[in-house]
């Protein structure tokens, strides 16, 4: 339960500056909150509401629509097994079943030690590499049940330092230096770009 920390408020304001209207930054800011705490805390949603100047209810309305936003703590590793058609054809459901047995949880559940949360997810765009899954949204391809066991063992023993904490989306962010910016303005303050007018034929 926490608001965004000072460093993230700075980052939040930079993100907000990328959009013509503040509310457009809502989803990226929810990701930022989830990156900070591993889930989207109520206080963080209230803080985001202040930053983008909408009501907390509007933030909750958006947050609750999207599958990636978790409003309660989840395991250290979120394991999302795809069972959609391409994966189903090549053993995705069997892989999920094996994951349930191995971890002792159903999709949506978290292991008692707080290590793993399991999800049964829809297509994650790796269909030629079925069956596949994601760990904290990082892809693993063509997994046998043995591969799954090895993955779980590696995660437990800390061998997968390449997989960041849940909530970390990209490890690189876009930064637009002030002197390189074309100029993002509120729609009311924006007109036809000067370069366009000068480059079009007189009568079009």
């Amino acid at each position: 339960m926490s608001r965004l920390n000072a460093a993230n408020v700075t980052l939040a304001n930079e993100i907000i500056s990328h959009y013509p209207k503040k509310k457009s930054a809502l989803i990226p800011l929810l990701h930022l909150a989830q990156e900070q705490d591993g889930y989207v805390a109520d206080d963080a949603m209230e803080h985001i509401a202040e930053l983008v100047e909408v009501t907390p209810a509007e933030v909750l309305g958006t947050c609750s629509f999207y599958e990636m936003f978790k409003r309660h703590p989840v395991g250290t590793y979120m394991i999302n097994v795809c069972t959609n058609i391409s994966c189903q054809l090549l053993g995705g459901e069997e892989l999920l079943h094996h994951a349930e047995q191995t971890l002792g949880i159903r999709p949506g559940g978290t292991t008692d030690d707080g290590m793993f949360t399991l999800e049964d997810v829809e297509c994650i765009a790796a269909c030629t590499e079925a069956p596949c899954l994601q760990v904290n949204y990082r892809h693993e391809y063509r997994l046998s049940t043995d591969d799954f066991d090895r993955l779980v063992a590696d995660l437990r023993s800390g061998k997968r330092s390449d997989i960041p904490a849940h909530g970390t989306l990209g490890t690189v962010r876009q930064h637009i230096p002030a002197d390189r910016r074309a100029g993002i303005k509120h729609p009311d303050d924006e007109g036809t770009p000067a370069w366009f007018a000068s480059r079009q034929p007189a009568e079009s």
Binding site: H31, E129, H139, V172, P187, E190
Partner: protein, 484 residues
Amino acid sequence: MSSHTNDGHTNDYVPHAPGYVDNEGPKVVTSRFTYEDSFTLERSLATGGYDGLKAALAKSPAEVAQEVKDAVVLGRGGAGFPAGVKWGFMPQIWPRYLVVNGDESEPGTYKDRLLMERDPHQLIEGCMIACYALGLNQCFLYVRGEMPLAHERIATALNEAYAAGYVGKNVMDTDVSIDIVLHWGAGAYIVGEETALIESLEGNRGQPRLKPPYFPAAKGLYYQPTIVNNVETLANLPWLMVNGAEAYKTMGSEASPGTRMLAVSGHVKRPGVYEVEQGVVTFRELFYDDNYCGGIRDDNDLKMFIPGGGSAPWFFEDQLDIPMEGRTVGAAGSMLGSGALVVMDETTDAVKAALRVVRFFARESCGKCTPCREGTSWEEKVLQRILDGHGRPEDIDLLLEIGTNISPGTYPVASFGDAGLDAVPFPPKQTTICPLGPSSVAPITSAIRRFRDEFEAKIDASADGGVAAVDAESEPVVAAAGGH
């Protein structure tokens, strides 16, 4: 080699995601795919990167737009609408926006992620060309949340491109200034629908907007004129600007020039993402030729295939010789959609496969329109009970009737030669705002028309004591069969 991260650490290069197959044939959008460092600015510039933007800036915006129109660049996201014509729908009103649809999540689709991960500069260049042609200075690149590598590589590429003067203020030392902003999705298939994408980009729940206006070109982001283009569509523009519309039209068919990225998954020997000339190569060649998938696994018989993503009605042996392009596939009762082909061999259970696709739509329905919200979950429920051995004789008709409530009239289907049934051309009609609900009808109509006997066998087995139900020892057979 390293890249900057949020906390100041450096990352070694993450290897490419697998899937792309470097087959014989013209390469428009995958020319850099085999380089390990294909996503870097150095590699891009060493292989003609940003030459297309340079060529575009030497022309007037109207000339660039005309080139795209002349080349007949069909949209690669699903509907296959010509990009140049779509652009022409924009009224002379400013500000206007370009929104790039990188929310790839149609079942079976795996191409935009590769384009974003392996060649982000090509996409950025394509965005810049489109912005220039449309006379706008703000572009938003909406990338699916579940694709962190795509985010990282696009963010890095944008940071490089801003610093090197290919994006931002005074592009390539001209007076042209354009911003591109990378935006993060958060897990919602429906956001691939363009008005839902716009709602999402405004910070709202991703629900489609009521039509009319039919095209966001009239009223889109912030109710200003907006073009929404797919990643692959825009990735075609650099090549087009360098080589011209005439050269572009030497590839593919007359109605569908150029290439398509096609992801073939399921029961083939060599699943993969292939760049293929449109309207030239047939499904049979794609599935069986050594240049592509090399045949069905274990040399099994083909049972059915999905030609264009989970939303597409199924095709069968009869349709194998159709050349792959929007027009021919549409006339034959389906769509090439998002270029996602899912191949199913003779071992596949048609009811189970239909259920899985339907379950996807039931889970992803945004809940705005009643026929879809209620209908998709009923379809799932009825299919599930047939599969579980609790089907009722009236269930087949019930499934078809639910479908009619979401998509009235005769639903698009492939011809069925043996039964003397003709094809019903695409697209379906709809009682809903967007095509998600009607898409859920595709697997049901396709499977029932072709494999009604499989549905009946499962239902018959339930009626005379329930073979499937007896198998499930822990199931309370009597209570379940009694229904509610």
